[in-house]
Structure formats: structure tokens, C-alpha cells
């Protein structure tokens, strides 16, 4: 059995179903992200694991023990709250030592361990300050140290980086990843930011409307989305519908060669194609279109191209040797057929 097992967990607020029959297994040492849009039930799920909310149905088993009805104070979990929730009347060191004090660790040992935890998050010099004297990023680290110092069975992070500015957030993503690897604590992180989830997780559970749509490694969730929702929520994607007959794809009055895809005949099939998989080409393009917009982002260009299949978004790294492509220009587009994803959710009769 897995280290943490959520089985058929639901949470209803009166009539409203916030979490709808979720099951999730987490292995020891794993870093799992719950990713989904705001209001999809991520925090509610985390709060049930933490013990601040009682599930309406289902069970939570941690390390072989059923903790579904256990008090939060007895679960031994480390939690980092979205707004950090540092105790304003205690110094940084006292904040971090609090959990050890509750565990009746002797004074010298707990101060020693709290200092070590603060060094782990590079805050060794700030231990005598009060939380209000720290920046957002520093408070974030104190919260992390406070959660980790008790050697929690599980580390729960609720949107831990969402209050930081963009640059700091990227740095903290890497650092969070690094710290979790070093400490090895099993971690569940809630986030609505797909790049954050992709960057730090071993596996991502994509949630929508209280359900888990897909759980997989970041690469697989991105490359092989199981539903329309997953493919559009993680990164940008171009979608189009077509009809397959005799192994050929018919889209918007055009025939597109898909020989190597081995498609069965179907009346209506929906495809997703990532913007970075499409390239410009002058001979034998799959389709052609007109560039309606382009944006330079430094490391890459973003193009919008009007095609017979609809408006396509195209990413191209700033490392291409062809002539500059201007707005209004007509261009040929191509891609590898394997990069087209059938979206399972759309029922195509014989796939």
C-alpha cells in the first residue's frame, strides 16, 4: 500500500460538492502537486489531509494508520499556508522552535535544531527578527523551516509561492525542489500555476470541479493530456477537429497526411497540437496560413497564424536561421504527425 492513500474522498458544503470522490496514492518521498483552476477544490482536499475539514465521505490512510478522524494536532504534518501564518508575536527562531516545544524537546536542542532548519533555508542571519521585519520571500522560508523542523510525516504546501513576485517565485521554485530532494519529505503542493507544478513535482494531479482529471509525471501530463481540459490548462495548445477516412485526415476541406498515425476511420476526431511542435517550412507544408501577429519574448518568438484549421499559436526559439517572418506574410507550416494528440474525451467512434 502507498504511504498516503486518499480513498473516495468527498466534501460537501451543504448542497455544494467541493470535492467529488477523489482517490490519490502518494509514495514515500514523492512530491505531488494538485493543479487546477481556482475553486476546483484543491485547498479543500489539502485541508482534509491536514485535518481542518472532515471529509463527507472516504478515508485517509497515512503510513498504514487511518487518520481520517484524527485531530490536526496529532497528525504530525508540516503545513505551509498561503499567507505564511507566522506568529507575529514571536521571533523567527521562536516561530521555528514552536513545533519542537510542543513535542517537549529540551530548550537547547530545540533552539539548535531550529537554527539548523533556518540555515537550510538560508535564513541563519535573521533568527532574532520578527516576521514583520522580513520580506515576503523570507517569511516564506521561515514558514517552510517551521514546517520542516518537526520532521513531518507529510509536508503540505498551499499555493506557497503565489504571494511572491515573478522573479522570486522562479528562484523559490528551484529552491523548494532542491530542499525537498535533500530532506526527502513526502510533499503535497497545491497550486493553480502550471509552470510551478511542472517545475517541482514528481507527479501532477490535474483537478477540475472537485475531481482529478489526470495523474501523471509532468512530462506525460503535458505531452499526453487525457482530456481537452488538461491539454488547455497545462500550457497553450492548438485544437482542431477533423474526419478520418482511409487513413487520411480531413480538416476544414484540407487533407493532411497522417500516414504514421494509423488512425481508424471516424466521423469526428479532436486533436491537440502544442505551439512549439509547429515549424515554418517552405517546401511541402502541411498547411499554409497568414501571420496575423508576432511577439518577441527574448528567448522565443510567438506567432499567431490564420490557417484553414483556425488560428494557430506557434512558438519558435530565437535560434532559427531563416529570414525574419513579418506580419501579414503567408507561410507554410509543418509538424510531425506523432506530435498531434488525439484528445480522448471527444468520442471518436472507432479509435
Amino acid at each position: 500500500m502507498s504511504y498516503l492513500q486518499l480513498s473516495n474522498i468527498s466534501k460537501h458544503f451543504d448542497e455544494y460538492v467541493a470535492v467529488d470522490n477523489i482517490s490519490l496514492s502518494v509514495e514515500k518521498g514523492e512530491f505531488i502537486s494538485l493543479l487546477g483552476p481556482s475553486g476546483c477544490g484543491k485547498t479543500t482536499t489539502l485541508q482534509m489531509v491536514a485535518g481542518f475539514l472532515n471529509p463527507t465521505a472516504g478515508s485517509i490512510v497515512l503510513d498504514g494508520k487511518n487518520i481520517t478522524a484524527m485531530k490536526p494536532s496529532e497528525r504530525g504534518l508540516g503545513i505551509v499556508f498561503q499567507k505564511y501564518a507566522l506568529f507575529p508575536h514571536m521571533t523567527v527562531l521562536e516561530n521555528v522552535a514552536f513545533g519542537l516545544e510542543m513535542r517537549k524537546v529540551g530548550k537547547n536542542e530545540r533552539l539548535q535544531r531550529a537554527r539548523e532548519a533556518l540555515e537550510l533555508v538560508h535564513l541563519g542571519l535573521f533568527i532574532e527578527r520578527y516576521p514583520r521585519q522580513l520580506s515576503g520571500g523570507q517569511q516564506q522560508r521561515v514558514a517552510l523551516a517551521r514546517a520542516l523542523v518537526i520532521n513531518p510525516h507529510l509536508l503540505l504546501l498551499d499555493e506557497p509561492l503565489s504571494n511572491l513576485d515573478a522573479k522570486l517565485r522562479e528562484d523559490m521554485q528551484l529552491e523548494l525542489h532542491d530542499i525537498q530532494r535533500r530532506v526527502g519529505t513526502t510533499t503535497i503542493m497545491v497550486t493553480h500555476d502550471q509552470s510551478e507544478a511542472l517545475a517541482v513535482s514528481d507527479r501532477i494531479a490535474v483537478m477540475q470541479s472537485g475531481r482529478i482529471e489526470q495523474i501523471d509525471k509532468p512530462f506525460n501530463v503535458y505531452e499526453h493530456p487525457k482530456s481537452d481540459f488538461v491539454s488547455s490548462f497545462l500550457g497553450k495548445t492548438n485544437t482542431f477537429e477533423g474526419r478520418v477516412s482511409h487513413g487520411r485526415l480531413q480538416v476544414g476541406g484540407q487533407h493532411i497526411a497522417v500516414d504514421d498515425l494509423k488512425l481508424a476511420d471516424s466521423s469526428n476526431t479532436r486533436f491537440a497540437l502544442r505551439p512549439e511542435k509547429i515549424r515554418f517550412c517552405s517546401d511541402a507544408p502541411k498547411i499554409s496560413g497568414k501571420v496575423s501577429n508576432r511577439v518577441f519574448l527574448g528567448s522565443q518568438w510567438i506567432y499567431e497564424v490564420q490557417t484553414p484549421l483556425g488560428d494557430f499559436l506557434i512558438y519558435e526559439s530565437n535560434n532559427q536561421k531563416h529570414d525574419e517572418i513579418q506580419e501579414g506574410e503567408t507561410v507554410g507550416l509543418s509538424w510531425d504527425s506523432q506530435d498531434m494528440r488525439l484528445i480522448a474525451e471527444e468520442p471518436a467512434s472507432h479509435v
Binding site: 494536532s73 497528525r75 514552536f98
Partner: protein, 265 residues
């Protein structure tokens, strides 16, 4: 920062003068060397301050009022803290009604309270007793304490308590180590305000005091009824001084503006 127009400045200045002038006059009169109420400009002395020391009934009433204030303010806080936590932190049916009920003594004239308690306490046979005064004062000043404690409960983020629990703190430990310290400014200022209100109360106490339970305001009132001399001015000056010291202490430790205006941290 709001910019004050000259007109507003003049208004505020006049208002402040209007508020402070009587206090200044009383303090000045306390230093007169005459036997009647007069300004000390043609002869100042500490005569009337020394006079206080020769009036054991004033000293006694002072200590009695002090004790009554401390006991009833503490009683009021003991009621106000749990009430403020319940009203400020949870929503439950009848919450607004309970809040209004607990604040209602603020709206009843002290004269009415005095008559009502007099009647009620006679029924219970505790009229004129220390217990009666403590109960009446405790009830009358409770809303002041409640208001201030309530203001500070709303400033506490409930996730702080979750954080403490997740770190292993029991409910009681969480209250003791997290909630209570964060409520402390509200509790302290609520206590001081309740104490001052009790210490200062005359209208209601006149009905409830007996010769063995005479508060300082009642003693002064009885004195004025007999004779008007600068003694009441010197006693008042001492009280004003005491209030100023209390306020200064409160400001030093918690910041008056934040407490009274209810600004966040």
C-alpha cells in the same frame, strides 16, 4: 495622510480647547490658597492637596473605588473575552442579537440602571453591599471591554491557530500561546477603559452606595452637597493625573491610536 484645510484646523483647535479647558480650570483651581473656588493667580499653594490627606473619608473612598474598579473591570473582562471570541470568530444563529444584547448597557441611562439595580438588589437583599456594587459596575462597564476586545479578535488571522495546531499545539495551548497574546492589546485597553469608567461612575452608584461602600465620586458628590470648597478641585486634579498616567502607559505599550481607532498592525 489627510490634508487639513485651515478651516478644519481651526475647528479642531476650538474643539480641543473646548474639551480640555474645563480640565485645565479644575487643575488651576486646585492650587488656590483661598477657601473658595478661585484661580490661583493672586496666591498659589498646595493647601488643598494637603487637605486631602487630612480627610480619611476621601482616602478611604479612593481606595474603595480603586478596588471596585479593579475587581469589576476584571469581572467585565472575564465575560467580555469569551463573548468577543464567540461573536468575533464564529457565525452562529442569533449572533447579532447576542452582540446587541451584550452592548445594550451602553444605551441605558445610568439613572435608569441605578433605579433598576436598587430595586433588584433590594429584592435579593444585597443592596448597599460590595457584591451589589461589583455586579452593577461589572455589568455597566462590560460593553466597553467587549468593544475593544472584539476589535482585536477580528484582527487575528484564524490560520495562525491552524498553524499552531498543525505544529502539535492542543486547543488550550493554542489559545494560551497564540490567541491570548494577540488579543492582549485589546484586553489591556479594554480593561483600562472599563476601569476608568467604573472609577468615574457617579449617577448609578449614588443609588447603590451605602456608608460602608462609598465610592470616590459619591464621596465628592456628598461633599459638594454640603459645601463647595477647592477640595473637590484638588481631588479632581489628582484623578486627572492618574488617568493621564494610565493612558501614557497604555500608549507606551500598545499604542493608543491603534487601540482606539482600531487600526491594524
Amino acid at each position: 495622510m489627510m490634508r487639513n484645510s485651515p478651516l478644519a484646523l481651526i475647528f479642531h483647535a476650538l474643539f480641543s480647547i473646548f474639551m480640555v479647558a474645563p480640565l485645565v480650570v479644575v487643575c488651576l483651581v486646585a492650587f488656590t490658597d483661598k477657601g473658595y473656588l478661585s484661580m490661583p493667580f493672586d496666591g498659589a499653594s498646595f493647601r488643598w492637596f494637603k487637605e486631602i490627606l487630612e480627610r480619611p473619608e476621601f482616602i478611604e473612598a479612593f481606595w474603595f473605588s480603586l478596588e471596585l474598579g479593579v475587581v469589576s473591570a476584571t469581572l467585565a473582562l472575564a465575560l467580555a473575552i469569551p463573548a468577543a471570541l464567540a461573536i468575533g470568530r464564529w457565525s452562529f444563529p442569533g449572533r447579532g442579537a447576542i452582540n446587541a444584547f451584550l452592548l445594550s448597557p451602553l444605551m441605558i441611562p445610568h439613572l435608569v440602571l441605578g433605579v433598576a439595580f436598587l430595586r433588584f438588589f433590594s429584592e435579593l437583599n444585597i443592596n448597599g453591599t460590595y457584591l451589589g456594587l461589583v455586579l452593577a459596575h461589572g455589568l455597566m462597564i462590560m460593553p466597553y471591554a467587549l468593544r475593544l476586545v472584539l476589535a482585536s479578535t477580528s484582527g487575528i488571522d484564524p490560520t495562525l491557530e491552524h498553524a499552531a495546531q498543525s505544529l502539535g499545539a492542543s486547543n488550550w495551548t493554542t489559545f494560551k500561546r497564540i490567541t491570548l497574546p494577540l488579543l492582549l492589546p485589546g484586553i489591556a485597553s479594554g480593561w483600562v477603559l472599563a476601569f476608568i469608567t467604573s472609577f468615574d461612575e457617579l449617577t448609578m452608584s449614588v443609588f447603590l452606595a451605602s456608608p460602608s461602600t462609598t465610592t470616590l465620586p459619591v464621596r465628592m458628590y456628598l461633599h459638594i452637597e454640603e459645601t463647595i470648597d477647592p477640595l473637590v478641585a484638588s481631588v479632581s486634579a489628582m484623578l486627572i493625573l492618574m488617568t493621564l498616567i494610565l493612558m501614557a502607559l497604555l500608549d507606551k505599550f500598545f499604542g493608543l491610536e491603534r487601540l482606539m481607532v482600531g487600526k491594524g498592525h
